[in-house]
Symmetry: C2
Subunit: 381 residues, 2 copies
């Protein structure tokens, strides 16, 4: 397997465009910014992988038609929230195997009407009679509270931390801090989760240029140490989250399995990470992600929040970008937005939210199914 | 690049199930048949690629949850009509690169309500004010008739040939022959195309098991000599089909480019082919596909039909399965159904439609965008 590097990233702001921008606009913006950042011409790109979950057919073709059709293979990937993580992985593997030297990974989504209905497919409705999200996350939160004494205040503090980080990020939908009291006083959505513990919908595009690093030397290059995908679904064995077992999106087995595979592939462990972008679709989930990614032991996630370990100035900052909680969650575009944040941090270009001496970062995305995508990147500083 | 073989294929009948079977049922049937045909256990499969274009989110996960979730990566691919051809190619490349030894390629689709509306995305409506299919195919047909003297009778004979072949195939939606007069008397859909020149909608699943052939020896194995994908879209340069240039689905550049790449990869030419499965979404398209795939010179496609060259007992049988015209076209499942027919023919298992001494076959699928997927398979007989 060859050496693979990210030499350019780009994204649109993630927000609700209310029809003023479509996937073509958002994907074009992300792609052209990534090409410019990489200092590479579009005609040098040999294959493109586009992750999108909500925006219809041949999304990559619709976007790249605007950039210019060069005849390269374009593969559209739909792995729910992990769509662009899966696109990144296909680009990574295509280069690592020697098949290509330059690939585009793209993620883009807008919010269609009827989104919430789409998220609950028949098997859920038949079995449980309710919508999968946020109910499954709520049940997982309750289970974590019951098992480990995690408190609702700790869950609220995740939102507060991420919104604070997001206030420093021009790409975020929300760029305004919130207080714990405000989070706890927001409308109840699915007990115990309140509105400000749920990430907002958003629309946006994100992109990365991956290359064979032996052939393309760039001082800004960031090495891909690992890119993995695991998939599972209902009732996978060995889970310990009660009802959540059959609920899927937060099924923690997949995160543990993916993290194990990614750490092995990278030859690194959680102790080597300088920052993490994790899938805080709901604030409660971030706490259990800490544990499943090995940042702490089982049941210690709440303590990490209380002690500020994962704050931007903590020992292991999590979601310095503001996370899904601030950025919003254009489903297919999220994983590459996480990767973009890590690239900027590893290059020392994160501005007011820069983590000093950041050298290794991990991006973690769950996707309905669930899929779990993990990307580990290493800087050259 | 290693050696890759198909050691098992399976499919459901393609037909309109009227809600009695869903994608889970159809994908399960295809997958379990392919596993059985391959004489391999599901737990031996290391990665799965699922092509689907019309059936919603995480289709592969929904199907494979029934087969059993083993934690392997599942990637859902959406490349319109080339979806399962693209899934096949990803499986092929994953094995050729040494990343995996056993992969599943799956295709499945049902017909959702509103399909025809979905097929015309805004850019068409804005520019041309009409639905892309069958109008673009109709314009390409008119262009071919004007340029080369191709007749409406020749186009009708494509339907007659394919329906005759389909009458011998239990997997087809239509299993009944039609006469030229019947085709010509059928309802006009988009001048010059009549109803029986248009392939029917259908629902179904198709699957193949691909392996590293050095590690898995099977007497029934069929070698993957090439699996390529090209993508383009509106107004790609160098086309010569007039208005059809901006119409895309039949944009012939992509077929020519993909065929060139596939022949080079396989070290074979059109003269080496013993059978072809081509994308006869409309009967007129099959005639120009002959030319673009190199089975004859430009403008000679009509002659091939008149002389019976592409009949099942002709020099180079095309669509011995009955093609899309008989089988119907469950968008994401079509390419792997073509591949399955070629596998059966190369193994001498095609029953009443067996082509004697078939050793090399090519499957060609166009997908809106257009994508063009080409797979070349070689038998061991």
């Amino acid at each position: 397997m060859g050496d693979v590097a990210v030499i350019g990233v780009g994204m649109s702001r993630f927000t609700t465009y209310q029809g003023t921008k479509d996937i073509e606009d958002l994907g074009y913006e992300a792609t052209t910014k990534a090409l410019e950042d990489a200092d590479i011409a579009w005609k040098q790109v040999q294959a493109a992988f586009c992750g999108s979950a909500l925006s219809g057919n041949v999304v990559g073709h619709r976007v790249l038609n605007l950039v210019g059709m060069t005849g390269i293979p374009i593969v559209n990937v739909e792995n729910a929230c992990s769509s662009s993580g899966s696109a990144f992985r296909l680009a990574y593997q295509s280069i690592a195997s020697g098949r290509y030297d330059v690939c585009l990974a793209l993620g883009v989504d807008v919010v269609p009407r009827g989104l919430i209905l789409d998220a609950s497919w028949p098997i859920y409705q038949r079995v449980m009679g309710f919508n999968v999200e946020p109910a499954s996350y709520a049940m997982n939160a309750r289970r974590h509270m019951a098992d480990y004494g995690t408190t609702i205040e700790q869950i609220a503090k995740v939102t507060v931390k991420n919104r604070k980080n997001g206030s420093l990020n021009k790409y975020c939908h929300f760029q305004k801090e919130v207080a714990v009291e405000e989070v706890l006083a927001s409308r109840l959505i699915s007990d115990p989760l309140r509105l400000l513990m749920c990430c907002p919908n958003a629309e946006g595009g994100s992109a990365a240029i991956l290359v064979n690093s032996r052939k393309f030397k760039r001082t800004k290059a960031v090495i891909v140490a690992a890119s993995v995908l695991t998939s599972s679904m209902f009732g996978s064995p060995g889970t310990d989250v009660g009802m959540g077992t059959i609920m899927t999106p937060i099924n923690p087995d997949r995160t543990e399995a993916a993290a194990k595979e990614a750490y092995e592939l990278a030859g690194l462990g959680p102790e080597d990470l300088d920052l993490v972008e994790t899938h805080d679709a709901f604030a409660s989930a971030e706490i259990s992600h800490y544990e499943r990614l090995g940042l702490c032991g089982k049941g210690e996630g709440g303590r990490l929040i209380d002690e500020g370990v994962t704050a931007i100035n903590g020992k292991i900052p999590v979601n310095p970008s503001g996370g899904l909680m601030s950025r919003g969650h254009p489903v297919g575009a999220t994983a590459l937005a996480q990767a973009a944040e890590i690239v900027w941090q590893l290059r020392g270009e994160a501005g007011p939210r820069q983590i000093p001496h950041a050298r290794v970062g991990l991006a973690h995305t769950l996707g309905g199914g669930p899929n779990c995508s993990i990307i580990i990147l290493k800087g050259q500083r």
